[in-house]
């Protein structure tokens, strides 16, 4: 992996890198990828993927209202509360 490829992936993942990381990651990641390429030799032609190790995973509970945190409890540890809401930075830019 080249430094340029690393920078592209870091931008996609929204991860800032330090100078040290830019120096060591390309080589480390290349080593990991070459190690992983051992999988190329495995015949998986007729094999289905396993996403979860048990079959039951992924059920949804009934949509029933149950006791939960009060608004006060939910907001108690929040550093920035306005009128009973969490205040967070704007994440959608105005046109």
């Amino acid at each position: 992996m080249t430094l340029q490829e690393l920078k592209t992936i870091a931008a996609t993942a929204r991860v800032g890198l330090t100078e040290k990381e830019k120096e060591i990651f390309p080589e480390q990641i290349s080593q990991i990828i070459s190690h992983i390429q051992a999988l190329d030799g495995v015949d998986t032609h007729d094999t289905a993927p396993t996403y979860y190790p048990i079959k039951q995973a992924g059920f949804l509970r009934d949509d029933e209202v149950e006791p939960s945190l009060t608004r006060e409890q939910a907001l108690a540890n929040c550093p920035d509360v306005v009128d009973g809401y969490f205040r967070v930075p704007r994440i959608i830019e105005e046109e």
Partner: protein
Amino acid sequence: MQFNEMTIHELRRLLRAGEVSSQEVLEAVLARIDEVEGEIGAYLALCREEAFAQAQRADEMLSKGDASPLCGIPISLKDNFTTAGVRTTCASRLLENYIPPFDAAAAARLKEAGAVLVGKTNLDEFGLGSSTENSQFHCTRNPWDLSRVPGGSSGGSAAAVAAGEAVAALGTDTGGSIRQPAAFCGIVGLKPTYGLVSRYGVVAAADSLDHVGPMTRDVRDAALMLQAIAGWDPKDPTSARQDVPHYEAALTGNVKGLVVGLPRELMGDALDAEVKEAVFGAANLLESLGARVEEVSLPNVEYAMSAFYIIISAEVSSNLARFDGVRYGYRAAEAEDTVSMFIKTREALGQEAKRRILMGTYFLQAGNYDAYYLKALKVRTLIKEDFEKAFQRCHVMISPTTPTAAFSFGHKTATPISMYKSDIYTCTANLAGIPALTVPCGYTQGGLPIGLQFMGKPFEESTILRIGHAYEQHAGLPVRRPEMEVKANG
């Protein structure tokens, strides 16, 4: 023996007989913490005041004849379990000041059982690592040799139990993070079947691989802890609707007729000679107790490391996306726009977390998805099938827990691949979702503990606890505690 060094079941007897109070046990644990924590560094936070209030309540419950085995027992939790009103950091600067308003399901169940929470233990940031060196706050030292790592990522929990700073603890295990540190610190660690213990309130690293489990001084204690936390939870969509048996009742000491598989692929060249000898010694002992040991084969297990690494990275890159500066914890100041705020905030992640996010992003990219991620999921199927086939011939399998005993600080940090190989014998059970237990099975010439791993069929924790317990009872290992040269505190 001091109260803080006893097992849960020894303390249960004394507490019920009124020979000691929960508050006295807690005092012994806190005194030990004052004595050795400066050297060990097992904890990220202590909850002294809350612990005394809980111990007082436990003593009241005990005086009324409360029967819960965990009532009044001082325990610790890895700092990736949310705890209402107690800072939960995942050893990450991104969550340095995060105080959750709710308890993780496993934490809540222990609390209901009357256990006393002493504190939150150190880990590799977000559970990513095998030495606890990736904690962004401080290192934890192995009580058996302070120049060595305690293993990871649940290194703080393992060191706390081994050093007498807690009677038992909970950890999480994504590729070996309960079993590898338990083996390095000479204690028992259990990763249950996927879905048996709720993960509600555990900060997710990799959904399809993360497990919650006990870290204890002996197998009986692991059974008692598991009993308290196992069972269906509607708040966890991966929780299994499964009956929970009585685990302690399974500890009969009898292993006659059990067939023990020894997978030849897990006894290969990577293995340290002393560890290999200890595992073969354990196999011989099990035979002498009436079990039958048979060689079995897991032909695809050599690909487990690679498949595991792809899957964990992909899932981590997705899970850690929530730490963006908007919702939780740290937010970088003075960013020009939203995207730079994300990037600058996430620059505060540690190197291992970043490597996994970058690798995961790479594996999931269009063009790479099929070749890496989908391929790894298919290899996972093959590995799972290998286990299913081998379990047609045996009831349990044994293997080393780790290729070597605890290593020195800095020994593997420069080459990530060598660090990942610490999990080579443990990550297979995470891919297959099967239960796996580590029990101490000897010491190296240098006096470091060695772990023996028992793997079982899905939801057959009772069987691995039974054989692990029988082994422990007959192994005749000298009961050793780490001999620490304790410097006077303050």
